[in-house]
Amino acid sequence: MATVRPISSAPSVHPPALHDRAIDNLQYIREAMERAEPVTVISGWGIVAAGGVAFVATAATLRTPLTTRWVATWVAAAVVAFAVSLGATIRKANRAKTPFLTGATQRLALAFAPAMFIAAVLTGTLLRHGLGELLTPLWLLSYGAAVTAAGMFSVRVIPVMGACFVLLGTVAAIVPTGFETLLMAAGFGGVHAVFGVLIARRYGG
């Protein structure tokens, strides 16, 4: 007669202790909150302010030919816009009493950085080769790619904003020279202003 064996034998390892499971649950709650956090952390008003800085740069470069001064003005505007936007985001996090530097914001920054690094490297290369007219499509496309990638860790409106920049960058690559400043204004000014208001209204500032 065949020997009878139980279908399920006793587990060979001890189940995790209650203490460990409680820690695991807290870890899970923390991660779920962090994943959802970029929604509230990114400041819509900060993005609107970045748009405002771009409009100022537009006014300063509207009648300027594509020279070093034009490039320097827009690079300076990018630095100011980034600082203003970052400051607004930190203020928003403080107001919401949530930490600014979390796993979620780190993932967001890591996704944003590569395309911006490529843009910085290629800006120098294009200027060295006297191809300044290619800077507008490069900047719009790179920023669009960076925002779309970072938006993967956020709400749908962020990657949609990135897609708008990619679209404008594509237009900038197609149209003849002479429209650089207007396209920069439409992208870094207009798109930022529209989506900034949208984010501020929907996601608390």
Partner: protein, 128 residues
């Protein structure tokens, strides 16, 4: 509450990583008998946690955050809604239907209770 959950989790970083469920075991002062089973389930705990740090989230935003299917999310969201932990608002964006979820005061309190419970379990086992 977000800061508190994060601080609690950070102060106990050696979590095992497995999906453990709390059984009704005696743990000294902290027992799992009064554990809120409704939000103890992983998916529902995730939904409540995500809503705790956002005024509201749409169905598709929650789906992306939880990496789940439409069916699974709607089943769990409905259970939370029936318990009064979340509110569900249906509207139209143009012609596209939109469903938004928000955490109610009862839901926030339930999460707070759950965090207290986890904290009590950790404290009780550490004090032994």
């Amino acid at each position: 509450m977000a800061r508190r959950a994060q601080a609690l989790a950070r102060s106990h970083p050696q979590g095992p990583g497995g999906a453990g469920g709390i059984k009704s075991q005696p743990t000294g002062d902290a027992t799992a008998v009064d554990l809120d089973r409704l939000i103890h389930e992983r998916m529902r705990l995730g939904i409540v946690s995500a809503l705790a740090v956002n005024p509201s989230l749409s169905f598709s935003e929650l789906k992306a955050l939880m990496h789940t299917t439409d069916g699974n999310l709607s089943v769990h969201a409905r259970k939370l809604e029936e318990a009064g932990y979340v509110t569900c608002t249906k509207s139209f964006e143009g012609r596209v239907p939109k469903t938004d979820y928000a955490l109610t005061a009862a839901g926030r309190k339930a999460l707070e209770r759950y965090l207290n419970h986890m904290e009590a379990i950790i404290r009780a086992t550490r004090d032994r």
